[in-house]
């Protein structure tokens, strides 16, 4: 102890040094947060910047004639006979309709009929054909359709395709874009909100304008149902047993360590496991949401078990003592007291596990969910069983679309990411709301 007198009004060297260290530490923390926020902003801006337009789509409104001579020469209006006319037979009708619309609007163009027809999506004839087969009586009359514009025209109105890029593009030309612009001015071409992006199934490589997430969303939904139904009860039961009933022996220690390790196993390993067990050994259908759900269940179980055990552990022992003290059995003390108090934590863990499973891609690639699927999978069919029909999933659809050549798919992939993010956001919000609702103090 030195008896040196020192004024409190001036800082001594040591205090100055400590204050400086504190300031540096704060600055480091702050800059870390700023970097993280910036990364997030860049991510969101780039995803939304290129993906938001997937939710808008360009349509051409034209009246399509249905001449009997071309569509039903037999005259019996039997859809089975009429289905002999393929989409190729419908294409000229659409072009006729468009030419008539151009004439009616008084737009002059020097393009060939074939080039004008290229304004319409290759998907459109199928739309018209399906309509005619479903309503054979329309033959002889005509009907007005909002038909998909081709990917390049759609891109033009979203700013992806320009006159300059069109001049170098084999699939379109500046004249076509000019015509499209004129048609838009005449009100024949419109760009509006695109429900089909969320509802329609995937489309082939040349038709990004028709591709939608319908099958992928359905597949992801089925898988989440499988995961929830299997992982929650199994995970909670396992945690309750391990936490409350299992004797603390060498064995339970081993199990505990392994569960923690399982949570860190790369997800693709679960895919290999699923391929070996569920597809090769148990012979479930490839690409089915059932197998996908089972694999994701295995992957989610450790997450649920760890969070459930943590929340059971955090229930104060005094509550268990109180229950045992009035003569409750071990099970009653767990079910009546510990479990309700742990419920918010369990729910949060489960939803976070589900969200993780929803965004998982790698294991699904291995079990064939990357296939091109245009049929909506049924939840149950006698042939394929429960959730047994081939399907894709949201993250796999993103993966799939990013690999395709047509630039239209960049927008689709980003749109799918936005959809995925929205689902994750909804799930996390549910987790927060549930936790708030069930949270109790003791």
């Amino acid at each position: 102890m030195s008896a040196m007198k020192h004024s409190l009004l001036t800082l001594d060297a040591r205090t100055k040094k400590r204050n400086a260290a504190e300031k540096r530490f704060k600055a480091c923390g702050l800059s870390a947060i700023v970097v993280a926020m910036l990364a997030l902003v860049v991510l969101l801006v780039s995803v939304f910047g290129s993906g938001a337009s997937a939710f808008r789509q360009t349509y051409i409104a034209i009246e399509v004639p249905f001449p009997e001579a071309k569509l039903d020469q037999s005259g019996v209006r039997d859809p089975d006979v009429m289905s002999q006319v393929t989409t190729l037979g419908y294409e000229p009708l659409l072009v006729d309709g468009l030419l008539a619309a151009i004439d009616a609007a008084g737009i002059a163009t020097e393009m060939s009929d074939k080039d004008i027809g290229a304004l319409i999506s290759k998907e459109a004839p199928a739309t018209v054909r399906n309509f005619v087969l479903a309503n054979p009586d329309v033959i002889g009359s005509s009907a007005t359709f909002d038909l998909l514009a081709s990917g390049r025209i759609d891109g033009f109105f979203k700013g992806r395709v320009t006159m300059e890029s069109a001049a170098l593009d084999g699939n379109t030309s500046p004249e076509a874009l000019q015509l499209a612009q004129d048609l838009r001015d005449a009100g024949i071409i419109q760009t509006r909100f695109n429900w089909n992006f969320l509802i329609a199934p995937d489309a082939s490589d040349q038709r990004p304008e028709a591709a939608g997430l319908g099958v992928a969303i359905l597949g992801s939904l089925y898988m989440m149902i499988v995961v929830l139904v299997l992982a929650l009860p199994i995970g909670v039961a396992a945690s309750i047993y391990l936490e409350e009933f299992a004797p603390k022996t060498w064995w339970t220690d081993v199990i505990e360590v392994n569960i923690s390790n399982l949570a860190a196993v790369p997800s693709i390993v679960y895919g290999i496991l699923g391929l070996a067990i569920f597809i090769n050994f148990m012979e479930f259908n490839q690409s089915s949401p059932l197998v996908g759900g089972l694999v994701l269940t295995l992957m989610t179980l450790p997450t649920i078990i760890i969070s459930t055990r943590a929340s059971l552990k955090s229930v104060p022992p005094s509550i268990r003592d109180a229950a045992l003290g009035v003569g409750a059995s071990k099970m009653q003390s767990v079910l009546h007291h510990a479990l309700p108090l742990a419920a918010p934590g369990i729910l949060t863990g489960t939803i976070i596990g589900l969200a993780q499973a929803l965004g998982e891609t790698a294991p699904l690639l291995l079990i064939g969910m990357v296939a091109f699927v245009r049929e909506y999978p049924a939840a149950y069919t006698p042939d394929a069983g429960l959730f047994g029909e081939a399907s894709t999933a949201l993250p796999v659809q993103v993966f799939n679309w990013t690999q395709r050549a047509d630039p239209g798919f960049v927008e689709r992939a980003s749109g799918a990411i936005i959809t995925l993010l929205v689902f994750l956001l909804i799930m996390n919000t549910i987790a927060i709301v549930l936790r708030r609702k069930f949270e109790r103090r003791w």
Partner: protein, 256 residues
């Protein structure tokens, strides 16, 4: 002192081990019915451990091993045929820290009767709850807010609620593990008065670290030291004329 001579609990050669630690060494004691018996002694002397043997709460601790006999009404509670759950309905317990369930006041008291099937109807259950709350001297304070959460009461009220919860299952023995240690002096007085009242109907065993409290509420006192039951006798005698020098030094404040 109206100490009756009926023996309710009788411990014979009780030994408790935690792994290698010998926590209770050969304790023999006979606890009278309709009286308050206090266990006193310095921290870590084993008084709480011994108390928890009487309703087999030590069973929940894996490493704890109990040998010897504890008889309640002549039946060995460590007999293989005894289900501790049934025992604990007969031997109620109040803990050091008030630990009401995070439920309503009503549900706190009604929980025991419900799981033991003591009430056949809602009105019977209402009666049991009211009765238990009255006997715990808290009825007047809570009768208008039975559906309010039990955790919202003050510390003293919470502890009396816990006593009501223990009383509601119609036990014959009430074990209290330092019931006033987390209460303020006024709440302590209330709980002590309640303990004195409860002795009319129950065999009460209380662990306390306050010698004054033992002197105020108990008829018999047992002094524990380092796992041994050093001295057991009438409270008056222990505090005025202890036989063992260790008891004397503890009471006079030289050890502990």
């Amino acid at each position: 002192m109206s100490t009756e001579d009926t023996i309710k609990i009788s411990a014979k050669n009780v030994q408790v081990h935690y792994d290698d630690t010998h926590a209770i060494k050969d304790v023999n004691v006979e606890i009278a019915d309709k009286a308050v018996t206090a266990f006193i002694g310095p921290s870590g002397c084993g008084k709480s451990t011994f108390l928890r043997c009487i309703n087999r709460m030590n069973d929940t601790i894996d490493i704890c091993r109990v040998t010897g006999e504890i008889l309640i009404d002549g039946e060995d509670i460590y007999d293989k045929r005894v289900d501790p759950v049934q025992l604990r309905a007969k031997v109620g317990m109040v803990f050091q820290k008030p630990n009401p369930f995070p439920k309503s006041i009503y549900d706190n008291v009604a929980y025991g009767p419900r799981i033991h099937g003591l009430a056949n109807s809602k009105s019977e259950l209402d009666d049991i709850v009211e009765n238990a709350l009255r006997r715990s001297a808290i009825w007047d304070e809570v009768k208008d807010r039975l559906q309010a959460p039990g955790t919202g009461l003050s510390g003293g009220q919470q502890q009396r609620l816990c006593i009501a919860r223990a009383v509601a299952t119609e036990p014959q023995v009430l074990l209290m593990d330092e019931p006033c240690s987390s209460l303020d002096p006024i709440a302590t007085v209330q709980v002590e008065e309640l303990i004195d009242d409860l002795r009319k109907s129950y065999c009460v065993v209380i662990v306390t670290h306050s010698m004054h409290q033992a002197a105020r509420v108990s008829q018999k006192t047992a002094f524990f030291h380092l796992g041994n039951l050093v001295e057991f006798g009438d409270t008056d005698k222990i505090f005025t004329n202890p036989e063992d020098p260790r008891t004397e030094s503890y009471i006079s404040g030289r050890i502990g």
